[in-house]
Symmetry: C2
Subunit: 480 residues, 2 copies
């Protein structure tokens, strides 16, 4: 297990990312093109994400269910924009049980169509509404260029699908679920996000409109981290879903869908990681505290381990996720580097002197060197660690916020936008352009409109491209 | 929502099952042949099963990971018995991203091959062993005859995959995981199971040997409820996995795999259900207590609901899964039937008289009529309900045990076996026959050897078919 240096972020961020996800043991390459193996450490991180979201979904009245992996090809074709958006990316089963299938089966790229087919049976009356369903599942999109967690052929996600009696309720649901995502991102993953609406050009295939949370990575590129779609009556009409309202009149319901995927793992890596490795927010970290015992002789070992085991138990009883590094044949220095690479928020060192003094050394992953190190009494270790975890969680969020604030620039003209994008940053400006204008800017600068932020300055201004008067600012950035 | 009568178990058990899984809202039919939609109530039951197992897997040192859905066709072919066993059931992706694939991708029917390909990279030294991995996933086997939960084209399961330095450790792991399954079945699902070994004819394709837990359903047919395979060095050799042992010599590790699926939902239904619907063991029941408020006037409603809300909160605070049936326009009688159908262990009725008396009526799902009904003081309701849940859990297990004990018959000759199988029951007898003999008996009686039970009478006896002396008894039964 050689510990080679990582390419610094400043040299090549993309290379840094590709090295770090493997070195931190989050994932492994697979023999299947574009597919990823999620290793135990990465999967535990995903389980923490799942847990945080699932709790919030249930608290807002949603129930989990499971629908088939396979979708009859004809289903996808029912919603015109939807099939156009997804057909280039489909994986198709044509042979099953040794025979060619009469109708090919698509491996789900998303489940609107197969779920709407059920909603048609489940919804008869206004009493059946709202219908609030979520699914945890794997989906497949045959991507040409893939990157670990950020874009993989198969990925894990959740997809919510709901139906409502009125347009207003559907809109409220779409907004509520975006807020759930934002709440998770900010409070659990320590990722400050900007809430906004996608332009028509960037919205989900088949949606009336799409809301998004956008996060700034450490290279100042944007990562779309979760989306919530108001599907209007598009899918209800395509699948002929109708209900009798309170006046006994037949109506199409209004539906929504919203999804967040293993991409969030990539977002956490690129928001917080540094040249030494991951820096995981305590709330989602698989291991919150790692204890590294330090000793030379067998005698020392036995006194040190006694203390280590006792403290480990105390922390564990307080529901702190603690791990003792019992590996033999590895130096403390090797272990320090290894746990820094894996981004464990707090490292506790216990040596013979600490035993003697009744103290423990605590080192913060978010503060390098002496500044982040302190000696605390073993008595009261639980409270000390809990406080430290709260502090680290807040500090990671603050650092990310600062980076973001420093790198969003207001621009008035297209050349200013080009300049900001070229130097690395997000450009915010008044916008009244068309979808074609967006396309041209993407071609010329690589940047897209990430969203029309909910937080607007108010008033009006001249469009940075066309000079036309506009009532909204948008955010341009290069994105993953 | 009409409440039609269910076909009684005594008339047609199979029909009863097929009706009940839909009426109890566990699942729905899907438009994809052989695939099932798991509805929220069924999925919550599966989540309880997952929770009970995952906790046990982690307590025995296993970690979750995730491997690709797709397996290159060539991988499956590396282990000869394995491919022979699975190839008739495969679903194959031949087209992806609009193009024909050079090598078709099989949708995983089980993941030994794709996981062993990773193990080859992860295992270099004895220090990397044991490697203890579990995966929660969907798998696909193209079955000709399908039944909800029992046999579906796509199903959800967990599959454990481990590698060990010695044959002894692999055997101990195989046994340990069978014990984990048995512990879950008996203590959480209230399903008494018989632990045993499969004959060579019935073992997993590619295994050295397979252990199983077998349960008796209420129609006296057997259901294989979980299996644990000792794969010997078969897969290690097929995938060229080697490690350096402590003497620095190159060795093949010994591997195991073990799986339990959504079939367990079917096992719970068929072990406990009766003509009124499901009867769910409290430990896995999505709802443990349902409260049905009873009132006629608005005044009554407001006093009743005040008490209902208070008691519901008390139970919920004590981590009891409670649901208040607030539906309007449905009679209490309708609601009682509905919750009986869904198998909720305890029904609490609160009417104006109960409010006045400070009491609550509790009805047990496992005891019909007056016998199962009691009035308890509202003070101390939590303890009363907790005791009741423990009692119901034990009673369901006991009833299932009694049924099983009464329907396992010792047989000495083949005609006795035929008789037992024909009347409905399991036949236990000395056995020294061949795989071909098993095939003949299956053809003539429909029964297979479910297992060679670990619990053996000792001594020797004459084989029920061949008369040859044998040291082991086996269990014959018709099975799902």
């Amino acid at each position: 297990m050689a510990q080679q240096a990582v390419t610094p972020q400043s040299v090549d961020f993309s290379k840094w990312y590709n090295e770090i996800v493997y070195k931190a043991d989050l994932c492994d390459q697979s023999p299947v093109r574009g597919c990823l193996i999620i290793k135990p450490y990465g999967y535990e991180l995903w389980e923490a994400i799942k847990g945080g979201l699932d709790r919030r979904f249930k608290a807002t009245g949603h129930q989990n269910a499971y629908f088939p992996l396979f979708i009859p090809e004809s289903f996808l074709k029912r919603e015109a924009e939807h099939v156009e958006g997804f057909s280039p990316e489909l994986a198709v089963v044509t042979i099953a049980g040794g025979k060619e299938l009469e109708e090919p089966l698509v491996v789900r790229p998303t489940s609107e169509t197969i779920i709407m087919d059920s909603f048609k049976n489940w919804i008869q009356s206004y009493r059946d509404l709202p219908l609030l369903i979520n699914q945890w599942a794997n989906v497949v999109r045959w991507e040409l260029r893939t990157r670990p967690f950020l874009r993989t052929t198969e990925f894990l996600w959740q997809e919510g699908h709901t139906a409502h009696a009125t347009a207003e309720e559907a809109e409220a649901e779409t907004m509520q679920m975006l807020e759930v995502y934002a709440d998770f991102a900010v409070n659990d993953a320590a990722i400050p996000v900007i809430r906004g609406r996608k332009t028509d050009r960037e919205k989900f295939a088949g949606a009336m409109h799409t809301y998004t949370i956008e996060a700034m990575m450490r290279d100042k590129k944007a990562l779309q981290s979760g989306t919530s779609h108001n599907l209007g009556q598009n899918f209800a009409k395509a699948f002929d879903i109708k209900f009798l309202d309170q006046n006994n009149e037949s109506q199409y319901p209004w539906t929504t869908s919203w999804g967040l995927s293993t991409r969030m793992v990539g977002a956490i890596v690129m928001t917080h990681g540094d040249d030494k490795g991951l820096r995981l927010p305590p709330k989602v970290a698989p291991i919150q505290v790692v204890i590294v015992p330090i000793f030379k002789t067998d005698d020392e070992r036995s006194v040190v381990m006694e203390t280590v085991d006792r403290l480990s138990k105390e922390l564990s009883n307080a529901a702190i996720r603690v791990h003792v590094d019992r590996r033999e044949g590895q130096s403390p220095g090797f272990k320090f580097n290894d746990w820094e690479m894996r981004g464990v928020p707090v490292r506790m060192e216990i040596g013979p002197k600490d035993v003697q003094n009744g103290s423990a050394a605590l080192a913060r992953r978010d503060m390098p060197g002496k500044e982040g190190k302190q000696f605390v009494p073993q008595a009261g270790i639980v409270a000390a660690v809990q406080d430290l975890l709260v502090d680290i969680q807040a500090n990671l969020l603050k650092q990310a916020e600062t980076l973001r604030e420093e790198n969003i620039h207001d621009v008035k003209r297209y050349d200013e936008l080009k300049d900001v994008i070229e130097k690395g940053g997000w450009a915010r400006g008044w916008w009244a352009g068309t979808g074609d204008d967006e396309g041209r800017i993407k071609e010329e600068t690589g940047a897209t409109i990430r969203c029309i932020p909910f937080a607007q300055p108010g008033g009006k201004g001249a469009c940075l491209l066309t000079g036309k008067e506009s009532a909204q600012v948008v955010l341009f950035a290069k994105a993953y």
